[in-house]
């Protein structure tokens, strides 16, 4: 019997390797290695044409040297504001639209869904320029629209004013992306079984209170996912600001966020030369911020949001 007990030797399953290798290699070479390279580069500095290991000096400069730190904190704060606007405006609008769309008797549902999602498929370049034109006092579309509802006096060249520009751009970004939370929450609402809703009707929970007491608790996990997607997207944003306001993120850096700051540090602007190592340091900071956000979501939020099996 001892011979029979010998485990059977399996031939090596080459096909698993063949299936995995291409994706693994491309992903590793162009995503993981560069990410690691960026982290590594942030610890070096070019001195007299030589790449020298400087430890955390780049970060000390980023936080200690006012030429860098003022810009960094400004960009970070702007980025936080950018995120706050998204959370406060984009998600409630998304939930509202989704709740309306998910009503079982609604007609033209497909049309609304398709139309509201249109801005999301447009490129930042288009969105940036379109709104720049619309809000431009030169063209006068925005003032004349406001005039038609009697609010002409409210108009200001929002993108050109330091105090409004960032908020205006955040709202433009919300306009572009509201389709995503709408769709995800719509999907979550659809996945609530009819029986649960019917049971609620039987229990006398209808209308608005049905939304707050039954549906909202059941879609909280989706709202959690939307929040983290928004967070990652916001702290990685660049294109909209770059197209609408240029690399200098004017007026007077009031719309500068980490993405544009990284771009300027890396490539230089006007008289300042590009500095790949400082760029890498900023990218590392962005990496850590996003990682922290994702970690908070995964360990603190997601574990508390209960998922329901239907």
């Amino acid at each position: 019997m001892s011979v029979d007990d010998q485990p059977i030797k399996k031939p090596f399953r080459w096909h698993i390797l063949v299936f995995l290798a291409p994706a693994f290699l491309v992903y590793t070479a162009f995503m993981i290695v560069p990410l690691a390279g960026t982290l590594q580069l942030s610890l070096f500095r070019r001195i007299d044409q030589q790449l020298v290991y400087v430890g955390l000096d780049n970060f000390r400069m980023l936080f200690g040297d006012p030429r860098w730190s003022v810009n960094f904190w400004n960009a970070l704060w702007n980025n936080v504001w950018f995120f706050i606007i998204h959370m406060l405006v984009q998600n409630p609008i998304g939930v509202l639209l989704a709740a309306l769309l998910s009503s079982p008797t609604l007609r033209f549902r497909a049309f609304y869904r398709t139309a509201i999602f249109v801005p999301t498929v447009l490129s930042f370049v288009i969105v940036g320029f379109v709104w720049k034109l619309i809000l431009s006092p030169l063209w006068g579309v925005a003032p004349s629209l406001l005039n038609s509802v009697g609010l002409r006096s409210l108009f200001a060249p929002w993108l050109g004013k330091e105090e409004y520009a960032l908020t205006a751009l955040s709202l433009i970004s919300v306009w572009q992306f509201v389709g995503i939370p709408m769709m995800l929450i719509y999907a979550a609402l659809l996945s609530i079984p009819d029986e649960v809703i019917e049971a609620a009707e039987m229990d006398g929970i209808t209308g608005i209170s049905q939304f707050w007491k039954i549906k909202l608790p059941l879609i909280l996990p989706s709202i959690g996912i939307i929040s983290i997607l928004t967070f990652v997207g916001n702290f990685n944003a660049f294109d909209l600001i770059y197209t609408a306001q240029g690399a200098l993120a004017g007026p007077n850096f009031s719309t500068d966020i980490l993405g544009t700051f990284l771009y300027r540090a890396f490539f230089g602007f006007q008289l300042q030369l590009g500095d790949p190592n400082m760029g890498a340091a900023i990218a590392t900071m962005m990496f850590l911020i996003i990682l922290a956000g994702v970690a908070v979501y995964l360990f603190a939020i997601q574990t508390r949001l209960r998922r329901y099996q239907f």
């Binding site: 029979d4 007990d5 010998q6 485990p7 059977i8 399996k10 031939p11």
Partner: protein, 333 residues
């Protein structure tokens, strides 16, 4: 052509041992059914025979050749799956022919075999259809046809009837039995339904927790189960088990009596009990009795029997139909 021998086959997934050393011999032309509760390892054993799972150790011999390192297609087997597993993008004809085409069989031969199989299973009108255009019963017949055209040494059936509704199940069961008679092929059939096992098998293999409990002809298992598990698993309603000590039978830990082997009387008998519930099935009646001596037991009476819950009834085991088991659950003969 078509014998199977399994020697000390073991299979574990990580730390879980699913098969704990299986030895089994199947003769050419036999219809063998693997039966057991879910999770007993019967499907895993079938898949090890098919080569869809690798055994952790042991040997699988088909016609005397060890096939543990042979891919499924080269083992000379065919399999019918629970979910039919038809290729959704191929017609019925191509579904049946794919395996042969893959093996390089000449087209004329493929056509001939498909012709025979589809006639046998009355599938001719559907040969150009796709699976989505067929009913559940038709799909399962196509799946059986796909196995037939391969002219395998071994037919493997993995719970082929459990996705069909009750009426179709009986029909298809009949068809499989006829198929076996006509082809005289070796068939191995997995099910958790003991009725299927009893009606189809030449030989039943009862599995439990990764071990074979007993191998034998259907009536052999019914008449002389090797242990308590087999006694309880084969037969419906389930055998009644009574503590030996309560009956004053010192030699047996447990005493078993099948519900159909109990005689009832309103006036006298061995076990006095109260009717808890009565199920009237027409052809027979199941009584649930709460007995002072034997506890809650089931009695099966042929024909109609009127008994109201609460009534007092006496049940008496028929002589010679009592099974006795020792402390390990083994039958005492």
């Amino acid at each position: 052509m078509g014998s199977l021998k399994i020697e000390n086959v073991k299979k574990s997934f990580g730390k879980v041992d699913v098969l704990k050393g299986i030895d089994l011999e199947v003769q050419d032309g036999e219809f063998v059914v693997f039966v057991g509760p879910s999770g007993c390892g019967k499907s895993t054993l079938l898949r090890v025979i098919a080569g869809l799972e690798d055994a952790t150790s042991g040997k699988v011999l088909i016609d005397g050749v060890n096939v543990v390192n042979t891919p499924p297609a080269k083992r000379g087997i065919a399999m019918v799956f629970q979910t039919y597993a038809l290729y959704p993008h191929l017609t019925v004809r191509d579904n049946m022919g794919l395996g042969l085409k893959q093996a390089g069989t000449p087209t004329a031969e493929i056509d001939k075999r498909i012709g025979i199989a589809s006639a046998m299973l009355s599938l001719e009108p559907y040969l150009q259809r796709r699976p989505a255009e067929l009913s559940g019963g038709q799909r399962q017949r196509v799946a059986i046809g796909r196995a037939v055209v391969r002219e395998p040494k071994l037919f493997l059936f993995d719970e082929p009837l459990s996705n069909l509704d009750a009426a179709l199940r009986v029909n298809t069961r009949l068809e499989i039995a006829q198929l076996h008679r006509r082809l005289k092929a070796t068939m191995i059939y997995v099910t958790h339904d003991q009725v299927e096992a009893m009606t189809l098998a030449d030989k039943i293999v009862v599995l439990n927790a990764g071990r074979i409990e007993q191998v034998g002809a259907p009536m052999e298992l019914y008449n002389s189960p090797a242990n308590e598990f087999v006694a309880g698993f084969i037969g419906s309603p389930k055998m009644n088990f009574v503590d030996g000590a309560r009956l004053g039978d010192g030699g047996a830990k447990t005493v078993g009596v099948r519900p159909e082997h109990l005689s009832v009387s309103a006036s006298s008998g061995e076990w006095r009990g109260t009717v808890v519930h009565a199920e009237h099935l027409g052809a027979d009646t199941n009584l649930y009795l709460d007995c002072e001596k034997a506890g809650l037991i089931t009695v099966r009476i042929f024909g109609v029997y009127n008994a109201e819950p609460g009534a007092t009834i006496y049940a008496t085991p028929q002589p010679g139909k009592i099974f006795r088991f020792d402390a390990e659950g083994r039958a005492i003969r």
